[in-house]
Structures are given as C-alpha cells and as structure tokens.
C-alpha cells in the first residue's frame, strides 16, 4: 500500500512538457508579428504546402547561435516555394519591443511572431529554443526537433529541417521525423 502511495505521488509530481507528436494535428493560431502584420497558420496553409514553425528567443545563446543560420534557412526555404517560415517568441520574459529590436538588430526579414502568454507554445507543447515544428496540410506535424545537428554551427553534417522539407517537396517519406537537441527552456511565468 505504501509502495502504491509512493508510486502515485511520484506520478503526480512528474510533470514534463509533452510536445505534440509527429502525425498529430495542431490547432490553428493567429499572432501579431514585429512587422505589425497578423499571421494565421490556417490561412498560410491555404497558400503553402508547409509552414516551418521555429520557437526562438532574444537572450538564449542556443537560439542566438543560429542567427546567421536563421537568415540562410529563410533564403533556402524561400527558394522552395511551397513552404513558409514562422519564427515565434513565447518567452514571457521577453517583451514585444525587445523581440522587435532583436529582429531589427539582426536584420531578420522573415516573420517574427510574439506569442503573448505562451499560448501557441502550449498548443505545440514547445519546450525550448530553438525548437522546430514542420506543419503540413491539415495542420499535421510532419517533423519535430532541431534545425541541424550542430548547435555551434561548426561541424554541421545534416540540416534536418531542410532535409524533411525537401523530402516532402519530392514526395518522399520523411526519413528522420523527430530529433532532439539542447536549448533554453521557454520561460513560462
């Protein structure tokens, strides 16, 4: 009986953030970006085959290590006309103005959305920055995980997000649907 009590207590105390799984569907959302425009997932998916959603931060070194690579990734995705990029800042500790200043300072030409109250991070179950969810038609998660296999960017062997996009574009099954990487926890107050 005591063992059962300890087990039940342990179960109640264990509360990791569970992200939405590959193959599951995410609800649509609409957020204001630092360019002043509203971006809506469902509307975007009427125009494109996929939307790459990346949770980013202004103060996370793991995310900031990708600043240059966010720009090249956006260029690469722009060449693949069937995919859009939404970057989202869900940190309660980083204000809209800070996010806007960070995007301007780093010359981000892609949409940077501010997720007030981390509602969209909760929809995805996003845990950290950077973290990628590739959303397909019908809002199904096609790929989840890292951008590439080297946070420092010195020895990148595989660009996981681009590889998944290219496989969808070429009508092949996605070979690696889920990856993991270290990052900064999303700050939820």
């Amino acid at each position: 009986m005591t063992q059962l009590k300890i087990f039940l207590l342990a179960l109640a105390l264990t509360s990791p953030v569970f992200s939405i799984g590959v193959g599951q569907k995410v609800a649509s959302f609409e957020l204001k970006a630092v360019d002043g425009k509203q971006y809506n997932l469902e509307n975007e998916l009427k125009k494109k085959e996929m939307v790459a959603v990346i949770f980013i931060a202004t103060k996370c070194p793991y995310s900031n290590a990708y600043i240059q690579r966010y720009r090249t990734l956006f260029d690469a995705l722009s060449q693949r006309i069937s995919v859009s990029l939404f970057t989202i800042n869900s940190n309660d500790t980083e204000s809209f103005d800070e996010v806007k200043a960070h995007a301007k300072e780093n010359k981000f030409s892609f949409p940077v959305l501010k997720d007030e109250g981390h509602k969209v991070a909760d929809l995805f179950g996003a845990e950290k920055t950077p973290e990628v969810f590739l959303v397909g038609k019908d809002k199904e998660i096609l790929y989840h995980g890292r951008i590439d296999d080297d946070a420092e960017g010195k020895h990148v062997k595989r660009q996981d997000l681009l590889a998944a996009v290219d496989e969808v574009v070429t009508k092949k099954p996605i070979s690696v649907k889920e990856t993991k990487a270290f990052g900064c926890s999303i700050k939820r107050k």
Binding site: A10, L13, S19, E127, A151, E152, K180, A181, C184, S185
Partner: protein, 154 residues
C-alpha cells in the same frame, strides 16, 4: 633568485590552469550506474544557459547540505565553453560529482538522462531504482525539490 621565482610562478600557473581545465567526461554507461544509486538527483547544466548560471550557487549550496539525495551535475556546455564552464562550476564549490558530457551523440545522451526530455535547459531529474520519478524543466525551485525529496527519498 629571480630565475627560481620565475619557475615557481610558472609551476603555480600550470597547477592553477590544470585545476580549471574541463571536467572529466561521463559516459552513458557510467551515468546509468550513477542513476541507479538510491534517490539519485541529476542536474543538467550549461554555461550558455543564463538561468543555469544564475541558479547554480544556491542549488549547489542546497545539494552540498542535503543528505536525502545522491546529487550529480552534468555540464553539457559546447566544446568552446568547456574551460570557462569548469571555472564557473569551481566558483560554486560543489562537494558532489560534476562531469561533462562527452562530445557528440547529444540525442543518445538525452535519452539516457530521460527518454521524455526534449533538451530544454536547465533540467533536473530525480530517480528511484534508476527510473525517473520527478523532473524539473527550467529554473529549479529549491522548496519544491526539498518537498519532492522528503516525499520520495525515505
């Protein structure tokens, strides 16, 4: 005399440098063995993570004092920051094992810590019999940690 002073200074410098060199690495096999200790607490830390650095002194102080858990700290700072990370760790004076993650195989390592963990830092897990019984993602609450160890670590 001046020559001897120079040699002593160089030796002292070399000793200091070796003390602040990167930590010993922890293989997944050894990690699994340490996790199997009664009420093992693993905290995953990186110099690149601001919360990790901010909360380190208080967390180490708590872990130095508590008798309830077997603490273990794993530094996952990328290669370029390893020496600086070891210096930061040294300042906190941990009196329990501190290791560095070996280079590469991040995913395999994360799974060895907790198969359900996505990689957000800081991260802590409490184990009983090698199984995860409680996790903390983000900043550690010392009162919550104390409450959990009181309840789970008899």
């Amino acid at each position: 005399m001046l020559h001897q002073t120079k040699i002593i200074f160089l030796l002292a410098f070399a000793l200091g440098a070796s003390l602040f060199s990167a930590q010993e690495t922890l293989s997944t096999e050894k990690l699994n063995a340490l996790k199997a200790k009664p009420c093992s607490y693993v905290h995953v830390w990186a110099l690149w993570c601001d919360i990790c650095v901010e909360e380190l002194p208080k967390l180490v102080d708590y872990l130095n004092k508590t008798k309830k858990v077997n603490p273990l700290l794993i530094d996952v700072t990328p290669e370029t920051g390893k020496v600086k990370a070891a210096q930061e760790m040294e300042k906190a004076h941990p009196r329990f094992p501190v290791y560095a993650k070996p280079y590469g195989n991040d995913e395999q390592y994360m799974k060895a810590i907790d198969a359900n963990w996505g990689g957000g830092l800081p991260y802590s897990a409490l184990y009983q019999g090698g199984k995860v019984v409680k996790v903390w993602s983000g900043a550690s609450s010392l009162s919550e940690l104390a409450k959990a160890t009181d309840a789970l670590c008899k």
